[in-house]
Symmetry: C2
Subunit: 219 residues, 2 copies
Amino acid sequence: MEALTKKQQAILDYMKGHVSQHSYWPSIRDIQAKFRFASTNAVFGHLQALERKGVLQRIPGAARAYKIAPEVVPDLSETVITYEGPGENVIELDAVPFLGSIPAGFPDYTESSGVVASMQAPLPAGARRRPPQAFALLVRGDSMIAADINDGDTVIIEPGTPKHGDIVAALIDGETTLKRLIKQGSKVYLKAENPNYPNLMPVSSLVIQGIAKQVVKAI
Amino acid sequence: MEALTKKQQAILDYMKGHVSQHSYWPSIRDIQAKFRFASTNAVFGHLQALERKGVLQRIPGAARAYKIAPEVVPDLSETVITYEGPGENVIELDAVPFLGSIPAGFPDYTESSGVVASMQAPLPAGARRRPPQAFALLVRGDSMIAADINDGDTVIIEPGTPKHGDIVAALIDGETTLKRLIKQGSKVYLKAENPNYPNLMPVSSLVIQGIAKQVVKAI
DNA sequence: ATGTTCTATGAATGTTTGTTCACTGTCAAG
DNA sequence: CTTGACAGTGAACAAACATTCATAGAACAT
């Protein structure tokens, strides 16, 4: 499998995030607006590249119609992880499905803050039929650095309803972010664990993907 | 929640099945062709009705873009079911998620054979983020009558790779069917367990949703 | 130096697709 | 008998959308 360029990966990630959040694919113009292209043809070329490299299938002539190759989903079958499940039982997972990368930075401010812009939805479209209860994500960015979650680390995400103080994976504007959840009364904020970033980020409509339960440090 | 008419239910089911199988929504004209309407407006009216009744959300102006209300998913929380899991352990599930109805008949021949045409994809779009490993389906139709699976029964479906002779839930042409899987060499057939129906149904591209593991009889 | 690939702009085209309007028939309630 | 909700035909429109063509700068290997 030919490797993807940074922009191709970012576009693919955005598309996956859009599907996860909205349940339908973005149009070419949606992608164009997201990445601030001046021409739809820029997007078109990237989509062609994604299809040529075998990670995306376009349906000719149809609007907002794509498929994603299931094979793009890697896994952590080689890695043995002790995984703290709900309750007190510790499960030893030898094959936590690995479902992509995730940015810990602010999606829309990434370019000016030096955080890697690439992010990935936790559930690729081709593999969402019967996803596991828990999954692993690769962290990109440094906004969780104060929580000792750094670029390159792997985070185990478990579905569930998060409490105040939990580190959550949340979908905001089609992008997945990793942040600490702050509840103040009825208001919900996301807090980046990096002193260089603004502390509280008010969230109107956020979709919690899951709760970060364990971090596997990069070596 | 206002009740849906038969046709509305069928259209909603077809849309869900289409998303499950193709990963993108059907266009109005796709639905029109499926139900042999002479006018797109027939579909349009039904979609309006589905939205008015709160089970479907349309995105105005956008093509192939819909959302499904998560609340439409009922459950079996009241029912306690002993569920035979993989291996020999028997699990007592008190809340198997209930994900819709399924026809046991032939999707395209239903009108002439008296089988209820309504079917439903096992994973509604609004609830597919983190579906459970096992789920329950309501059986519609009588094509599995010889296997003592009748209209109104509930079947517990478990994901997995089926063997020859297993009763499976399979997606064919956007519709979910419940049939026995027959493997003859490299060829795969689906067999309806009803002497009134043609015995073997050759399948070119079928998507196995899961294997029927247990039947909860209707009372 | 030079061709090639990648990435992008800008404009144009033609199809797909949602949406609207006018009209008809059916069926049950008042 | 009438009214109104429901389901459908048929035609037409306008916006959304994918796609194509012409062009060009940057990076990079030959």
